[in-house]
Amino acid sequence: MDDFLKALYWGYMLCPLVGGIGVSSCKHYNSKMNCHLMICCVMFFAALLSIICGFPTLHFDLWNDDGLTRFFKVLISLGTLLASWMQKIFFPKFYLKESLAQLSKNFLLIYSLLTLSVLCVSAKTPFLISVFIVLLMLFLMIGSLYCSDRDCFNSTWNIFRIIICILIVILFNLVFYQHFTQKVALSTISESGRISILGITFAIGMFPLPLIYEELIEKSPTFLAALYTFIIPIPVLMLYIRLLNLYPFARYSDFIVLLCLVTIAYSIVGEYVSHRITPIKSVSMLVGCVVLSIMLPMHSNVYLACLFLMSLVIYAPLCVMIDRSSDDNQNDLVGWLYLALSGFPPIGIFWPCFLLIFNWSNQTFFPACILFLMLIIRGNVFFYKLRSSFLSLDLKSKEVRFVWYCLVIQIIILPLCFSDWIWNLFKFSLPIQGLG
């Protein structure tokens, strides 16, 4: 059993690299795209199989294999699979515009990004995770320089330099924490912990940073933009969850909760003010909800965060794709998407939002109340802006059916299949094994 699990583990890690070689050896456009889809399917099923095989977990020195890691791997592969499928449905002629060499370069970039994010998620120490995140940013920069026809170099450079500095501050505080926990117990440890948690919250894309993320997503090419929406936040969120094991006292930090509420309010105000609704703002709202649910001082916080992460992985690439497609059905699809993202019962993110407000109202009334009010305002904004669009929907078209499938996956299949497993996940997820 252990050998089988090991084969699955390393097979999953190496799958994108082998896939890159396979795709670059294909001679035609269609064969490249089909090969890519096949690799995404293999990755997804390998991740799923490692969940079905369940525990025992493997023990490595530098790599993790607990339930949380497996779940994050499923998320990454599910997001990539859906994004590739959407690419085929919404932009069937997209890849015919480029030359074969350019297409191979794009695929190589995508696979290296995938490998790096999988390595980020699996690494055990915060130091190693930080190195992989910085490498991820570097590859984003290289991609923007060599693989893109649009000039998004400045935005990727801005993200790179801000995140490397934030990570340096966090690592500095970690060394400080490690040094003093070995020698003397200080009250200042909590300060360094708070600085680290605050830094990582910024790195995810909380309030001041969504401006740069939006610029990056708007300027980069379609498929990469769909990947960026979840390939940067997921490893950083993993680092965040692992750091919370180190600094349990930081869970009660009111400032982070306030920052989450400001981020959600910012996304709502941005949607209200802009003339043309761009669904990208919903990404920062979902990330804010994930952090808000992690900050819950209850043991169900991991469950809620996982529910929101599933929504992020499914809706964020969909938002980007629908926003880019210049199809006639665009308005209708955006309308349905917003209905799913507004938190109205019974579809979309209603269930996680309901649980989030309910759990917060059990703890403190203020965040729950504010969140409830903001969701109502958001629903009203969407209704007034899009009330005429989604009533005249052509249900037979391919795109609409795809959106329906996504809704069904997110509302019915994933919660039914995964709820028990995720609920038990935090019991089995191992705490981080020291710093070194």
């Binding site: 120490t125 130091f127 190693l128 930080s130 190195v131 910085v134 490498l135 940013m137 570097l138 920069m141 290289i142 320089l145 170099f153 450079w157 790179f160 330099r161 801000i162 490397i164 500095c165 340096i168 501050v169 690592l171 500095f172 060394v175 400080f176 490690q178 040094h179 003093f180 003397v184 200080l186 009250s187 200042t188 710093l435 070194g436």
Partner: protein, 182 residues
Amino acid sequence: MLSFFLGLLLLITISGFLNTTLHAVSHTVLTMLCIIFGKTDVLSNEITVILLCSLALFGSCFGLLLRGYRIERSFKEFVGVLIFTVISIMLTAQFFSSSLSSFEYAVSSSIIWIGFVYNMLSRSYIAQLLGIFFSLNALCLISSLWGNTTNIAVTLFLYIPFLCATLILSIKTERFMRNKHG
């Protein structure tokens, strides 16, 4: 040793206003000296030697990549950064007064914060790169004084993406300048 540390830090901050390459190299020298003086604390001799060589290598690579680039700075900026340095060191040392190593923490964290401020506020690419270089050197210093072997190795590994980013930026700015003139 601590007063020596502070004096060197201020010297480097002043020299940094004159030349980019000098700044990079002298900052590396500062880090080396700090490690030599603090090596009795944690490190073994082999690691110290490897660290010194690699830091010298990284510093000279950075200097080579950015040769010919200059930052124009005013006297106001210079005084501003000096005052910021002194105030941040004083405040941090005051804040962490209960700890024995508070001064080291204060000095190294203020190098990191100066780097952060450089990186966030300046508009030229070179100044932003220098900011990151400040912070990375300070992190390397502190993790080699206090950290364990894995942390030091990983911190050194952080220099590689940074140097790649420097290379990409220098290529990009050269191309930009060529387009502008031609």
